[in-house]
Symmetry: C2
Subunit: 160 residues, 2 copies
Amino acid sequence: MPRRARGVYPWWHGRFRGFGHRITLGREAILDVLIKANKHLSAEDIYMKVHSVYPSVGLTTVYRTLEILVKLGIIYKFDFGDGRARYEIVKDPKGVDHHHHLICSNCNRVIDYTEFIDDEVELFKRTEEGLAKKYDFKITNHLIQFYGLCKECSGKNKGF
Amino acid sequence: MPRRARGVYPWWHGRFRGFGHRITLGREAILDVLIKANKHLSAEDIYMKVHSVYPSVGLTTVYRTLEILVKLGIIYKFDFGDGRARYEIVKDPKGVDHHHHLICSNCNRVIDYTEFIDDEVELFKRTEEGLAKKYDFKITNHLIQFYGLCKECSGKNKGF
DNA sequence: TTGTTAATGGAAACCATATTCAATAAGGAG
DNA sequence: CTCCTTATTGAATATGGTTTCCATTAACAA
Ligand SMILES: [Mn+2]
Ligand SMILES: [Mn+2]
Ligand SMILES: [Zn+2]
Ligand SMILES: [Zn+2]
């Protein structure tokens, strides 16, 4: 039963407690994995990592915790099309780390990119305004993903 | 056992046969539903419609046929985030009917839009070139979806 | 018409995620 | 620090869309 040095709390504790959630060992471990991994992890990925340190934490708790974290805007949830959700820590709550993904159709590798996001944001602002007006639709967020072949798979790709 | 008027074949027969697939009653019925529906149908949607005319066609065949149709580029497959895939006929194989989707987070209504696609295409051309160069990634297609609240759900939406 | 073999459907398997429920522990009150 | 309330937990089970199995059927080339 590890005990935290008094007064030292991760940034997300506030938001977490603010919404009436309790801070538990499992939840800390899960967040810790997300923060350190800095990649796109599946629930199972997270479960295995957490489990290696705290074998008592179950997969169910991982799913439940991830759900809360998404709701609180602490992590992103993505679907890269391989049948399982992926989770990624939100580095900057103000949206400065806004990025999109390049997804390899062959090896499922995922590349973050932020290049051209400025142009993109500008176009989307116009598009969103136009669409909002024309269809009376209130756009709250968007999903952009490029699919193709990564460096490794590009050369000797096995069809498909 | 209906028999088609001699010599009259839908446009997709050629591509279908060209890839070594047989034209069966079930497959024709499925394509027929997709063509006439002109909407975003789930496998179950299609199954029920087909089933009402040809009760002998099973759900398995629907799934198998849809898989082939996607592979041949005759239909699109989308994931709008409600846990089931949606299928939509490709009207123009040359990509002139290229469009994206507005998805209501509340009622799951889906709106096709083609507005601003020109600007978008232009931006994407630049983006794709840049990304392809920087990451050595061969982009073959993209996915763009806007999420938000539709006209009906915008006013009196029940939280979420 | 016939023979080869792709296609079929019904049942069962799959698999990520959700739910149930009795046991546990976080954390506010005292 | 101790107690008490109740959110949280893990294990088992359920869920639901999609896939696989396999014996039967039917498309279509010859
Ligand atoms: Mn990312
Ligand atoms: Mn569409
Ligand atoms: Zn790859
Ligand atoms: Zn709606």
